[in-house]
Symmetry: C2
Subunit: 424 residues, 2 copies
């Protein structure tokens, strides 16, 4: 599937009739506005004169007719916005059902929108799938293109997703710093990482390691059942070996019965409109695990930190690879939309180590489905990642990672001291 | 007080007898190794041939005779280490009492140490004060120099302290990102910032603002009593005005009776050897405040994040001003030590906007004392900082802060839509 267009046919079109609408949805990322800039600028290149509108707050803004003129935004301002994290068109968790989808149509038709590009994750792809089907049923000519965006890296069929590389860079650096801090003042440091249904972002903690005994010493992923006894035994062994222990934990870890650890806290877990539990925005899981380690192992200096929302919107910790790819998926969406005849999701495909190409996948493949970490990325002991994962993920963090160095210095020979009176 | 030396007499000395010992203590910072490199390299410049030792884990390593040869470390490796966050010589929370101080002496004497440079905060200055007095009582010729280091920025007599600028940069960026995220998906976002006894780091959250309605909309500092009812009224008003609310909270906030909010959680608070409560490494305070907002105000999407240890050791988010000043305080400590006759603490003094000089302060002035935010930095409403604070702190964040831009685009005129059947 390549969207029905040849990659060579990227000549300037005559201005097509109708308008192109773009919107953003779901949790923001550091590069989501690169995709927006890619859409707007590529539309200008491919079809000068084509009107491009943006909907505020995703489908919410379509229903409310909160639309803005993107054709009139100067290119240099688009580039400033592209470098700013978090959805510039604002976002939504709204997942419209049939009735509201009908309302979305009325607006699209009223504004003569013929191309709809939705930048979001698997839930947004599902919304787009519903709209695409409704358009077909209504015999309304509408191309629906999904531009991927998620720090969770959990889209089926995509090698990886824009937003992941920058979030992974943040996580890797956070753990590299936590590891150095923990070396200086040893103890047990648990850090909880985002990722509702997939462990990719937690796994990125391992990319901050430099030396063999660097943390994270233990990495617990959503993809393996979390066993409390095993966890405690792991921590104890690690602390005995290194005198300290840095642990990465997926917020989505669950026991063998699939029960979320975060739900075992005895407090109700809120849910978002898509039915996903709200795991972020609370330190409760980390605090519970820290209390467990304190109680059962009686180790000193047990701390828990939850990386929280910093992971997805921290300015200045951005992967250049991620930026470029987020831009490209926006650009390819416009090419597929204007020149092709198929709806779909624009997917990054790895063609070499490291090079990528872009492909159009059917919306069905991506919509409301979750890709998990493959087995080859998870260590047999269930408490670490593999070298295969490191090879897969390392290029996505981009260039210019800070280089970290331990001091290497020869020991001074001890000298004889008077024996202190009290030890005689 | 200028340490008894003229700034002009920085010529190369003949190699003095005895050794120089350097150590690091307390919570690590992103630039603490700049000070270490400054000490070692300046000692080489001022007194080629002088042996420089490093003690591992601060005074712990002196007692255990865990010393390393720093004279033999190549300059390029020192520079690599200088760019790496967190104490390269490792750290300690140990505050030795009289008996252990006697033991420290035996080691210093056995190794013929005549200059001791301790890189740390006000607790480390106090340790140094005790050692300095003990040396004087024992008529042992020993120069004791304190090199400041603390993200809390709470040293009396110092305009600001190395480590603060980089931590403040991290906090400002974290809030800038959280603000953009909260604009895209509105709600109440509480972020808890480090700072046991002083609000300087929490105040830095305000430095991430770009536009008038940017968060943090409310900033609660340790220096003002925290009133729960007032806090709830503030959040409600802010949410009514902006449809969202980003809040910065000092981990050290206390009520009018001086009772720490963190202690009101009904759980025991652990203490470090210096008697300070352990407030970091837990999300409990943020979670408690979030639960309060949810319960009393019934607002949607209430989240709490605790910035935790990331604030002090995150690689790559470093202020160039902070780096340069951390280097300079190490260098000045060596000059004061080798050429002067006084013990003391090397303090940054601001001479212009923005320029600094370095001064030697008596250890007594700094030791075990805490500087709090001055009144002129705190807004009358007790829930924000002033412009004076912004002017004071902004230069410390350094150059190259990411520029953040909101999308500015004209609205599309709504079009008439059919009235949906169900609303008739």
């Amino acid at each position: 599937v390549n969207g029905g267009i040849s990659r060579e046919r990227n000549h300037i079109m005559t201005t097509p009739k109708g308008k192109l609408l773009v919107a953003q949805a779901g949790g923001p990322t550091a590069v989501i506005n690169q995709s927006l800039a890619g859409v707007v600028r590529e539309a200008r290149r491919q079809a000068p004169g084509l009107r491009v509108h943006g909907a505020l707050r995703g489908v919410e803004g379509i229903i409310a007719q909160d639309l803005v003129h993107l054709s009139w935004v100067p290119a240099d301002h688009l580039e400033q916005v592209a470098l700013t994290p978090s959805a510039a068109l604002l976002s939504t968790r709204d997942k419209p059902a049939a009735e509201r989808c009908a309302r979305i149509f009325e607006t699209l038709k009223a504004h003569d929108v013929r191309w709809f590009i939705y930048i979001g994750g698997n839930d947004s792809a599902d919304t787009l799938r519903i709209i695409s089907e409704a358009a077909r049923d209504a015999r309304y000519e509408l191309r629906c293109l999904h531009v991927p965006k998620t720090i969770d890296n959990d889209l089926v069929g995509h090698d990886h997703t824009p937003g992941y590389g920058s979030a992974a860079r943040f996580v890797a650096l956070a753990f590299a710093g936590a590891n150095l801090d923990n070396r200086a003042l040893p103890g047990v440091h648990l850090l909880v990482v985002m990722g509702r249904h997939a462990g990719f972002l937690t796994a990125a903690s391992a990319l901050g390691r430099v030396e063999a005994d660097d943390g994270p010493h233990l990495v617990y992923l959503h993809e393996r059942p979390f066993d409390t006894d095993r966890f405690l035994a792991d921590v104890e062994r690690c602390h005995r070996q290194h005198g300290r222990c840095v642990v990465a934990v997926s917020e989505g870890i669950a026991d063998a019965q699939g029960m979320l650890l975060a739900k075992q806290l005895g407090r109700p877990v809120a849910h978002c409109p898509h039915g996903n539990p709200q795991l972020s925005g609370s330190g409760a899981l980390g605090d519970m695990l820290a209390a467990l380690v304190r109680e059962k192992l009686a180790l000193p200096r047990v701390r828990a930190d939850t990386l929280g929302y910093l992971q997805r919107s921290f300015p200045g910790v951005v992967s250049d690879i991620d930026q470029a790819e987020a831009r490209a998926v926006g650009e390819f969406a416009v090419r597929f939309a204007l020149a092709g005849t198929l709806d779909g999701s624009v997917a990054i495909q790895r063609t070499a180590d490291y090079a990528v190409d872009y492909q159009l996948l059917p919306l069905d493949l991506v919509a409301a489905r979750t890709r998990r970490m493959p087995n080859e990325f998870i260590a047999a002991d269930r408490n670490d990642v593999t070298g295969n994962f490191v090879s897969y993920a390392r290029p996505l963090l981009g260039r210019g990672m800070p280089r970290l160095h331990r001091l290497r210095a020869a020991s001074v020979k001890p000298r004889p001291l008077p024996i202190p009176a009290q030890s005689l």
